[in-house]
Every structure is written in C-alpha cells, then in structure tokens.
Symmetry: C2
Subunit: 156 residues, 2 copies
Amino acid sequence: MPPKSDLSLLNCSLARALGSVGDGWSLLIIRDAFFGLSRFSDFQKSSGVARNILARRLEALIAAGILRREGSDTRPLYRLTEKGRALLPAIVALMQWGDHWESEDCAPVALTDAEGGPVAPVRLETSAGAAVTAETIRFAAGPGADPRTAAFFARR
Amino acid sequence: MPPKSDLSLLNCSLARALGSVGDGWSLLIIRDAFFGLSRFSDFQKSSGVARNILARRLEALIAAGILRREGSDTRPLYRLTEKGRALLPAIVALMQWGDHWESEDCAPVALTDAEGGPVAPVRLETSAGAAVTAETIRFAAGPGADPRTAAFFARR
DNA sequence: CTGTATCCTTAAAGATACTG
DNA sequence: CAGTATCTTTAAGGATACAG
C-alpha cells in the first residue's frame, strides 16, 4: 500500500504474502512466467505495462526471491524460482474465482495437466482428506502468533 | 492500479479478480470477515486502516457483491456473500504460501476444520484426481478467449 | 533488445474534525 | 458506534527520451 502502511510487518502470513505480490502487476507478471514468458519485451507486450514500471517490478520480484535472472547479461531470461512456482495454487485459485464470478464461467484461459485433463476447482481439505468449507473452517492462534494475535483468537 | 490501467478490462480472469480484490486492503478485510468480524469498528481495529479508507473499501466490496450489509441501518453488520465465501481457497492458498515462504513456516494463524483437523496445503489436481504441478500444468485458450489471447496460445 | 533517467499525473491512503 | 467531509501527502504508475 502506498503511504505509511507496511503490510509485511503485520502478524499475518496473508499480509506478508500481499507485501510481496499484493500489488496489481506482480501476480500478472508471475502468471506470464507460468505461461512460459521469460523475456523483458514479452512481459511488456503481454501486460502493456510501461517499461520502467516493468523493470521496477522485475527487480522487486527478484529481490523477493520469486524470479531469478538467467542467461546473458545483455539479454537475460526471467525464470520462476521454487518460491515463485509455489504460488501456482494461489494464482489458480484466484483465476478460477475470476472465471466463475467475474467472467461468468467463460474462462479466457483453460488449465490442464500435460495429458490435457482439466484442472479441477481448488478445494480445501484436512490432512485426512475431509472437505473444508467456509462454514466448517476454524481459525486459531498458530506458533507464530504474537501476543495481540493470540489474545484476538483466545476470546472467541 | 492507479493511473490509467484497468485490470478488469484485460482478457484474463486473474486480472479481473485482482480488479475486485487486488488492492492491499480488500483481502485483509475479507480475511477478517472469515475470522468472524462484522462490525465497522472491529475491522478498523484489526487492520488499523483509517476509517474513511475502510468505509470506501467496504462500499467497494459491497458493490462487487463480496460483502453484504445486514442488520440495523445505524449499526450494520458486514457479512460475506456466497461470492465472498468463494474466495476462501484463494485466501488460504496465499496464506499458506506466506506461512512457508514469508513466515519461515511459523504460522501466526492456524487453520483447522470444525473438529480441529489441520487444513492440508492446497494442491492442484485434475478432475480425475491426478496431481498437477508447476511442471505439468498447461495453459490454452478457453471459451472466453478473445482473438489476441487465442493467438497467443496458438503459437506455443 | 534491455533497460535507465526524468518528469508528470493521479488515485489511493492518512490525519483530522465533525455528525447522527 | 458508524460513519462523512476535507485536506494533505506520497508512492505507484505512465510517457518519453536516451544509452549500452
């Protein structure tokens, strides 16, 4: 967020995640990297972002450990790191939500596995395999909770 | 995004999703709603956001159909709609990513089902149940692809 | 092709005071 | 408690020109 607020300081992993990829362009650049783009100019054409802005975002994503610079210095490739690739479930979940709720189930992009089998809607489950929904999910203080967070969940 | 760019116009459900919840505060407010918060002042205290900003975000989330105003006019409740609840997998996926990669696996907030069974890391699979990873996922033009999107995927 | 350097614009966020 | 109304600040984004 612009003035004053720094999400990455909040005691919440969602806020910290948004501190790295919470701006409008980052997730779109990462999406393009999943599509296979790796050139500066390809990212630029795909999103239409201004070149100086793209350079700034790429630098930030590299600093965050999400992208890595490879290849020649004059004509580098931008590739996802393991940390970047780990964003796939979150990106797909957001994309699926957008497909259903913002694109009227008419997806601009279709997702499959290597054999062409369609990717199923992301769903939550317990380690035992039971489905978890918005109605059944519960939140509690975790090992990383600070006193304020712990107090917040203690009184519910 | 601020000047000029309007993500919701792009031919991509991820961009459209980010057009609704892509700013820094929206997902945190929605997270608080999942935690059970529903009062203006509770949202305000939880995130520390300025009151006028909070009012603006709540209004935008209601306009987007993600929150609904309930109860008395003078002391309303803000509740998640079905569309808002449908964001749970995306929020959990982002939170889990933040737990692992930005909080060193020391989660401030723990997720369980109603019986206390821990929520497993979100993973992708095909409708047939096969795991889908960053290495095996494939992208193609979907039914909602415009000519430019179709051409983009046609040449890969 | 891949950027960097400037300058400019603007929307988002903050602070503060006030109202029903 | 739940906002609204102003005013100010600022950082993100855009346009453009230039460089290796």
